[in-house]
């Protein structure tokens, strides 16, 4: 905390100074770490070659620190898009780990490689013409029947999804379990890359969720009512008035609008 006394709010503040303090505080996030400030280091092996990198970084930022400029293998940088799938092993551990480069902290002795693309065919279909039962899933993804429940997919999932369980839900036609169980999927492809049965789990989940979303529950009645009202032009006059309204009148209406009860 600052030691100086809290300035009174009435006092004229140097706002520009505040902005530069904020900018200064964020600098290592925005424009990279400053080597002289790094206290802890680790060595990671990027595709076999060793690099010494700051221990606070993720695989993604560590690779950038080491000099890699990403064209592939990067997207949202926050764990949503699944572009930065990475496989790695820790020294002395036989397990092949899978993770997102943007979400995984570097560890000393880590050997890694990115898997920026996962080849997977997705058959075309029109959701409005399909039935919501397991035969639809088998029609497009007959390889589902090859699942031997080895659970490798689950172990590969960086989202901690029970992938095998939702594949099994697909096989037994339990659409709710399939849809809810696969909901957090970011389609990074790591399950499919590791699957010995060559199933593309994330595509199966996608089809299952769409079938469940469309056929699992009917359109809400309140939505249908509102669309009918719009069709009947019930809001036209009110919107005409608002669009033509001057600022003063809008400000008054805005200030007076009632807040719905919590």
């Amino acid at each position: 905390m600052d030691n100086d006394s809290t300035p009174s709010e009435g006092k004229r503040l140097d706002l520009e100074e505040i902005m530069s303090r904020i900018s200064e505080a964020s600098r290592q996030v925005v424009s990279g770490v400053e080597t002289e400030k790094v206290k802890n280091w680790v060595t990671i092996h990027i595709m076999g070659r060793a690099y010494r990198v700051p221990a606070d970084l993720t695989i993604l930022t560590a690779m950038e620190y080491a000099g890699y400029r990403f064209v592939r293998g990067v997207g949202c940088r926050q764990g949503f898009c699944g572009a930065c799938s990475t496989l790695y092993r820790r020294e002395g551990d036989y397990r092949l780990q899978a993770g997102l480069a943007c979400q995984t902290r570097v560890e000393d002795g880590m050997y890694l490689v990115q898997i920026p693309f996962s080849p997977a065919a997705k058959p075309p279909y029109d959701i409005s013409e399909l039935d919501c039962d397991e035969s639809t899933l088998f029609e497009f993804y007959p390889e589902l029947a090859r699942c031997v429940s080895c659970n490798t997919c689950t172990k590969a999932c960086p989202q901690d999804i029970e992938v095998m369980d939702y594949v099994q839900a697909a096989i037994k036609g339990d659409f709710e379990a399939l849809a809810e169980g696969s909901f957090d999927c970011i389609q990074c492809g790591l399950c499919a890359i590791r699957c010995p049965a060559e199933i593309v789990q994330y595509n199966v989940g996608q089809l299952g969720r769409r079938l469940y979303g469309r056929y699992g529950s009917p359109e809400p009645e309140h939505l249908a009512r509102r669309l009918e009202e719009i069709e009947a032009g019930e809001f036209d006059e009110g919107l005409d008035r608002l669009v033509a309204m001057d600022r003063e009148e809008l400000e008054r209406l805005y200030a007076e609008r009632e807040r719905e009860k919590e």
Binding site: A83, P124, S217
Partner: protein
């Protein structure tokens, strides 16, 4: 310096400080600070990065000469093209289509689908992506999508909430289109199979959003954008519409009349360029978070570098509201690995309160975003009631355990699986302990001006989503951005298809529009090294960069 001791993911001193948040929770449960009066709002907004002095200037060239823009944006607008007229042959098309869509987030993907639905064959449409299809800000939208579809709600109310939140600067006819089409978009999403949260009656669950007067926010847990994008992208793929990835547009092409006739695409891996000719071009390139305006971290994806603004502006399109930037009030401020990441506004609409170092709630949790963000900056840097992190960042607490106090045990896990996962990776249980927040660069409020069909001021060029300006005015409300992408993706796709069907011909392919622009740059004395669009930000380590040499 000794190693820091960590408790539950926090350094010991922070862990000690957060006990004050636990101590006051019971009292704060029913004592939420009042919303600010307009006067109080005006006062605190002086601290907003848009209004604080510095960091911006007047644009010196082009259709918006004299308008204010952040320095980082003005730098890109006042910059020379990556390739100039005469340097490459663009006369022969490699792709020859009816509709070219640039950018594959929600807006671009929606536009391509609706162009196809309106009669443009799938092989006469091309979607060009800078990264992979769907690697976009859309996929990271957490909170939800607004649509006035409850009986208690109305389109007028949605309009009024939005224009008030935008400080009465929204473009009225464009905003009207947004609220009018919102329920239709919800129907479309349902028909495509999106899993929108429902209550026990089958009605949509609708939540509060900052600055709204009624519950209107539709969610898919805290993965709303992910779910919307996954479903819409799957629909796109099911239609077998043309798509290229890692092919950003680096310049628009124009014909002799100045109409947009396509774009120059660039293969990010091989360095080759490709010429795409199109009768109609839809720009859906998203925003500019990766410019790190005023040095802020950002919630945006890797490719959010304002390319579309630059391309459209050079082709003569008018921009608007370039002076404002949306800072999301609740970016993560700790730990360092996730600084700037979005913590959805839905956390606050579900009961989480911003709390200062003394454990006091200091602001109504659901002010419009610019007001809320300014209040947090004030708490940290004027009142000095923030919490300093080991990296030097300062923030305030977001009291996330309050969510279960208000909604019952187990609620957080059900509603915010993504948030829980993110903090768990750093040993922080947000159900048990508060998390640290500070505003983060989130959204480009302004952009390329459009009409209610998404058409820009240049013939042959439509604009949809974050790259457009007007619909949100100078401040966007929560839940209106995903809505905007789909409403104006759809409208621009339909309008472009109509244009093509009405007999529009593909124009000649030139970079002529650059000539006058480059002349203006020279006249304004812009140094020749400055080039744009940026395409991707630079995050390589300084030591590595310093030793790089170019040998082949």
């Amino acid at each position: 310096m000794a190693e820091l001791e960590y408790i539950e993911g926090y350094p010991a001193y922070m862990h000690e400080l957060l006990q004050r948040v636990h101590a006051t929770r019971d009292r704060r449960k029913d004592q939420v600070p009042e919303a600010m009066t307009p006067q109080e709002q005006q006062e605190v907004l002086k601290l907003h990065p848009d209004y604080a002095p510095g960091g911006k200037r007047k644009i010196s060239v082009g259709p918006n000469r004299g308008d204010i823009a952040p320095d980082a944006v003005a730098d890109l607008l006042e910059a020379y093209p990556l390739v100039e007229h005469g340097e490459i042959d663009v006369s022969e098309p490699d792709y020859d289509v009816d509709v070219l869509v640039i950018g594959g987030g929600l807006a671009g993907t929606t536009a391509a689908i609706w162009a196809n639905m309106e009669g443009i064959p799938a092989d006469r449409i091309l979607l060009a992506n800078k990264l992979r299809h769907g690697d976009a800000n859309s996929i990271m939208a957490e909170g939800g999508t607004q649509a006035a579809d409850r009986d208690a709600d109305s389109l007028e109310r949605h309009y009024l909430d939005s224009i008030g939140g935008g400080h009465f600067t929204n473009k009225p006819d464009v905003l009207r289109g947004l609220v009018e089409d919102a329920p239709l978009i919800m129907r479309w999403l349902h028909q495509l199979g999106a899993m929108i949260d429902r209550d026990e009656n089958g009605d949509f669950v609708e939540k509060w959003g900052g600055g709204t007067s009624i519950r209107r926010l539709h969610s898919c847990k805290d993965y709303t954008g992910l779910e919307e994008l996954r479903v819409i992208r799957d629909e796109f793929r099911g239609r077998e519409i043309g798509c290229v990835e890692h092919y950003p547009a680096i310049e628009l092409l124009t014909d002799a009349e100045g109409r947009v006739s396509g774009a120059v695409l660039y293969n990010l891996e091989t360095g080759e360029y490709r010429v795409a000719r199109a009768k109609a071009t839809i720009l859906a390139t998203g925003g500019f978070g990766r410019l790190h305006i005023r040095g802020f971290p950002t919630t945006n994806h890797y490719g959010a570098t304002a390319d579309g603004l630059v391309l459209a502006y050079r082709a003569g399109a008018k921009l608007r509201d370039t002076d404002t930037v949306q800072y999301h009030p609740t970016g993560a401020a700790y730990p360092i690995q996730i600084v700037g990441y979005l913590l959805t506004e839905k956390l606050r609409s579900s009961g989480a309160q911003p709390v200062n170092v003394d454990g006091e709630a200091f602001v109504f949790p659901l002010e419009p975003r610019d007001v809320e963000a300014s209040a947090i900056i004030r708490e940290c840097y004027v009142r000095n009631r923030g919490i300093d992190t080991p990296s030097g960042l300062r923030g305030v607490w977001l009291d996330t355990p309050m969510i279960e106090v208000k909604n019952g045990r187990g609620y957080t896990e059900k509603a915010f699986p993504g948030m829980i996962r993110m903090f768990n990776r750093y040993d922080i249980d947000m159900r048990k302990n508060p998390v640290l927040i500070f505003p983060t660069l989130h959204y480009q409020n302004g952009g390329v001006e459009t009409d209610p069909q998404g058409h820009s001021s240049v013939e042959g060029l439509w604009v949809a989503g974050e790259v457009s300006g007007g619909v949100h005015g100078k401040n966007r409300l929560m839940g209106n951005s995903t809505l905007d992408t789909m409403v104006y993706g759809r409208r621009s796709g339909i309008s472009a298809a109509e244009y093509v069907r009405s007999g529009a011909e593909a124009g000649s392919l030139t970079l002529q529009h650059q000539k006058a622009y480059v002349e203006m740059l020279r006249d304004a004395g812009v140094e020749p090294e400055r080039r744009s669009p940026m395409i991707l930000p630079e995050y390589r380590g300084k030591e590595a960069l310093a030793r790089m040499i170019d040998v082949f």
